[in-house]
């Protein structure tokens, strides 16, 4: 019988490391040792997680013992209905890439087919987008499906530093041995890590090493070298004091060299600008940081698994970085190795990792795909866009990170118009359907007019939670 995994070493001072250590702490039996080695260097690159987490982080946090009140009171987290794209692409498109529950079919026809046929602006019929546009917020009711707001979903805007601190606070002090040190040497044997030497002189061995260090990923690099797919970029991150809380929505817009995203927290406003290369002569760009985006072919080599930026630095144009981080950790939990023979788990982990990375890249690349017609079916992205442009078919692959609603909203936002529509649309009395949509639009407008401004809602919620707490 092979030796069981008895000790895990997690390395990094990143949000990925905190999530990973806490997830292992919560999920695994207490007879497995968890050692978290935290280097002193702060992981500046964590900002590339983009400050936005999708709706499934509510459940993810809950399972880790992190409640929404915890998040709101102990970090400066805010709510997010999604990301608004402004003046995007050559046609300067504007839309809100909002979070939303599955779209209902209407008159037996898919929602997007009717929107396309009637040439409507999809944003005006999605409750999360309308609420974000008007700067209002309220928690979607869970006990009243007749309320249009119940179809909305929301995620979070967060600060990585504060969120990381909260996650660290939740770690069981009895269980997780936190060592503040830097790894200075990695001892390997046949493509496996045997032990690491810390800068305090101590040596730590483990059966499983988890590299959450970030792009430099020293453990994985020792075993597998650098990222196979690299693209040099630069970024500038600004934080300003918030004078007023803006909408519950991130904003993304193109810049001469790339794009920038902005998001608002309870007391701060973050701006992150990415470009291939900034004009270094410009004083505005003097603080530009270099970063290599890209990904590894495999996230698990030997007995070392990479999580987060150690394996894939996805661009923060969308919430892909946090979706990938969540997927990394979920994969780790489901495939946590039984023993030191990890071949079976490693193969499956890498298969799923590749699927997730590909899926996030498809969604990202589609933001820069401005084709208006197409015949090509060579790649998965071709299939997705060509089939949509042809007749509004939403091609989907197994277990994608971005679902059909995400793709539908993006297609509509990017102005992709199918050449043909569902045949059933022709059977409908379009004047009646149009009337139905007008009522729906007016209903949503009315609903949001009754919702409180996001800033007020957040302010009062925080007061309520503080009073309740004490």
């Amino acid at each position: 019988m092979n030796q069981k995994v008895q000790r895990i070493l997690v390395y990094g001072n990143t949000i990925a490391a905190s999530y990973t250590a806490l997830s292992l702490d919560v999920a695994l039996d207490t007879n497995i040792d968890i050692v978290l080695v935290e280097p002193k260097a702060i992981a500046y690159n964590d900002i590339l997680f983009g400050g936005i987490a999708p709706p499934n982080f509510y459940d993810f946090h809950y399972k880790l013992g992190v409640s929404e009140p915890d998040l709101l009171l102990k970090t400066n987290t805010g709510f997010s209905f999604g990301t608004e794209y402004k003046n995007w692409g050559p046609s300067r498109k504007n839309w809100i890439q909002c979070y939303h529950l599955p779209f209902a079919t209407d008159h037996g026809v898919d929602f997007h087919q009717l929107v396309n046929r009637l040439n409507l602006n999809m944003d005006e019929y999605l409750v999360s987008a309308v609420a974000a546009k008007y700067g209002v917020f309220a928690h979607p009711p869970t006990d009243n499906s007749n309320n249009a707001l119940s179809r909305a979903e929301y995620g979070y805007h967060f600060s990585t530093q504060r969120l990381k601190a909260l996650l660290r606070e939740k770690l069981s002090t009895h269980r997780v041995n936190v060592i503040q040190a830097t790894i200075v040497d990695v001892m390997t044997d046949e493509q496996h890590i045997k032990e690491v030497t810390l800068d305090n002189g101590s040596v730590v061995d483990a059966q499983l090493f988890i590299d959450c260090y970030g792009p430099d990923s020293p453990l994985l690099t020792t075993l597998a070298g650098e990222f196979e797919h690299q693209l040099a970029k630069q970024y500038i991150h600004n934080i300003e004091k918030n004078t007023a809380v803006d909408a519950a929505c991130r904003v993304a817009q193109g810049t001469p060299n790339g794009y920038q995203v902005e998001w608002s927290l309870q007391d701060e406003r973050h701006t992150l600008e990415l470009a291939k290369k900034f004009d270094v002569k410009s004083p505005k760009h003097a603080r530009a940081q270099n970063i290599t985006t890209g990904h590894r072919d495999c996230a698990w080599h030997g007995n070392c698994i990479g999580i987060g930026h150690s394996v894939c630095i996805a661009e923060p144009l969308t919430d892909a970085p946090m979706r990938l981080l969540h997927a990394d950790i979920q994969r780790l939990m489901e495939l946590f190795p039984i023993d030191v023979d990890m071949a079976v788990e490693r193969k499956e982990f890498n298969r799923r990792y590749q699927n997730d990375v590909e899926s996030s890249l498809l969604f990202h690349q589609a933001f820069f795909d401005y084709r208006t017609d197409g015949k090509a079916l060579a790649s998965k992205l071709d299939r997705k866009i060509t089939q949509y442009l042809h007749r509004g078919v939403l091609v989907s692959f197994d277990l994608e990170l971005f679902n059909k609603e995400d793709w539908t909203i993006q297609h509509a936002g990017m102005g992709r118009t199918p050449m043909f529509h569902d045949r059933l649309v022709d059977e409908l009395d379009l004047a009646l359907v149009d009337e139905h949509f007008k009522r729906q639009k007016a209903g949503l407008r009315h609903l949001v007019s009754k919702m409180p401004p996001y800033a007020d809602y957040l302010h009062k919620l925080l007061i309520y939670l503080r009073n309740k707490q004490f």
Binding site: L28, M333, I338, Q387, H390, V393, S396, D398
Partner: protein, 515 residues
């Protein structure tokens, strides 16, 4: 648009009904050509739960449909002698138990059941409503359940597929579908487009159409004989190539499940209907003769045969393309997978659903006085990709039954124990054996609970289970498991016997009383 369906079995009339209903208000003229001289195969008498959605979409009354097709309810399939001679298990429609601390129930059950002297944990099937009700011969609708455990199951039907075709024929004809009796003796293919443009019947009647749906069965009259699409032969993986079918008198009580009993050179199905039991022996001709196969089947019947045996010949596999030019193959003309998991009608349904979603638009060219429908390659491509994935994933699941077991008592079983498997299945088996992990996919018919049912049912015990289960205490698991088991037991105790339920529901057929 003129649409012509060739073949009037289950596939033909399902396609006709679905198209007529979906495009009820459109200028679509549907003609179905069938010949009473050509029999239908009708192997797919047992179905999967998805069939309910098909019927619902047509607006079919469940009670009337069941009565007319002599249908019974189906909660799953009992597999006898598959893992080992003398053993059986039920593959139910639904999950086992409910997750505990976000870990699948079966993982926790595996962990507890191996570390125990815990005989009170009994078997995993105690935690699935479908299995418990099936073994007790009872039935109730999922929506009648008071708790999640009592509602977490699906059901399908076992019916006379010939009567289902007749039922749908009436439905489709009421919606304007034209039926033409006749035998196709010739097809005309327009050389530039490659489209089939017309059929000639034995009585010289010529039927022109824009789009053809080939439901002609194994021979693939249009997709293969006219368009030479080619066939992917999968018999190296699923080598059974013949079947003999014979109905018999029904049993006293009607089991709400199908049975598949493994044999030395194949397997025998038993499908209980209201008025008879359908039986058949699927076998590999390499290792048994037709007569021996028939004798084996007759020996195992539950009652007296009620008709002459019907012999079937097939080759497992699929067409290289399901949709080529203006011909779409649906049913046996598209491919054949043995009905071990009742997928025949399901694959028809999948084909129809995808066809409706990708139905060609009316765009014509005129060549030499002939109107030719312009088929967009994008529609064909998407359809072919979707159907290929369905076929391949079902193939792997069927193959699992043959290779995941302890049998080596005949040539056929020894063949399977030494065969090289598709990589996709090897990966799945490796993951299961190492840690009871089921590789998930989104697009496919059989979800993880089905894989768990077959793997555990056929004695493929994993070496380990998910390490996270160690954080669940024995007492916590027992409380959780006991509550589910009790919940299911209470519901099954209160449920009616299957036949009584059919009668109470009003789905039971009774012969007209002669005065």
């Amino acid at each position: 648009m003129e649409v012509c369906i060739v073949g009037g079995g289950t596939a033909g009339w399902m396609a006709a009904s679905a198209m007529a209903k979906k495009f009820e208000d459109q200028s679509l003229n549907i003609t179905l050509v069938e010949s009473e001289d050509i029999g239908t195969v009708g192997v797919g008498e047992a179905t999967l739960p998805h069939i309910r959605f098909f019927n619902q979409a047509l607006g079919i009354n469940e009670r009337e449909f069941m009565k007319e097709t002599r249908a019974t309810f189906k909660l799953g399939i009992e597999f006898v002698d598959w893992g080992k001679i003398g053993q059986s298990y039920i593959h139910p429609f639904g999950d086992f138990g409910q997750s505990i601390n976000n870990i699948e129930f079966y993982q926790a059950w595996l962990s507890q059941s191996r570390s125990r002297s815990n005989s009170d944990l009994s078997v995993l099937s105690d935690y699935a409503f479908g299995t418990v009700a099936a073994t007790q011969g009872k039935f109730q609708f999922p929506h009648s359940g008071q708790t999640r455990a009592q509602r977490s199951f699906g059901y399908a039907y076992q019916f006379d597929s010939g009567l289902y075709a007749k039922f749908l024929r009436r439905f489709a004809e009421n919606l304007g579908v034209t039926r033409i009796e006749g035998k196709v003796v010739d097809t005309t293919v327009e050389p530039n487009s490659g489209n089939v443009t017309s059929l000639t019947l034995l009585n010289n009647q010529v039927i022109k159409s824009d789009l053809f749906i080939d439901c002609s069965g194994f021979r693939g009259l249009l997709i293969e004989q006219a368009l030479k699409t080619g066939y992917q032969d999968w018999s190296s993986w699923l080598p059974c190539n013949r079947a003999v079918a014979v109905p018999c008198e029904r049993q006293n009580s009607i089991p709400p499940y199908t049975r598949a009993t493994a044999q030395k050179a194949g397997w025998i199905w038993r499908i209980p209907l209201q008025h008879r039991t359908g039986n058949g022996h699927v076998y590999w001709s390499e290792f048994t003769s037709d007569q021996d196969a028939l004798d084996t089947l007759i020996r195992q019947l539950d009652g007296k045969p009620t008709a002459e045996p019907k012999q079937l010949y097939f080759k497992t596999g699929r067409r290289n393309a399901f949709w080529k030019n203006n011909v779409i193959a649906i049913g046996l003309s598209a491919g054949f997978l043995e009905p071990l998991e009742s997928t025949s009608i399901h694959l028809i349904q999948e084909g129809i659903t995808d066809l409706l979603a990708l139905f060609p638009h009316e765009n014509y060219a005129h060549t030499g006085g002939t109107r030719v429908l312009q088929i967009n390659d994008l529609d064909c491509d998407e359809y072919n990709q979707r159907m290929a994935l369905q076929f391949e994933r079902i193939r792997d699941f069927l193959l699992l039954h043959y290779v995941a077991n302890d049998r080596s008592d005949s040539e056929m079983w020894r063949y399977f124990s030494s065969m090289s498997l598709p990589d996709s299945l090897v990966e799945k088996l490796d993951l299961w054996k190492k840690r009871a992990y089921v590789q998930r996919y989104e697009h496919g018919t059989f979800l993880p609970p089905s894989w768990v049912a077959v793997l555990l049912g056929q004695n493929i015990s994993p070496e380990n289970c998910d390490p996270r289960v160690a954080s669940i205490s024995s007492s916590e698991f027992h409380r959780h498991a006991e509550a589910i088991k009790k919940d299911i037991k209470n519901a099954v105790d209160a449920a009616l016997p299957h036949e009584a339920f059919l009668r109470k529901f009003g789905a039971y057929y009774s012969e007209p009383v002669l005065r």
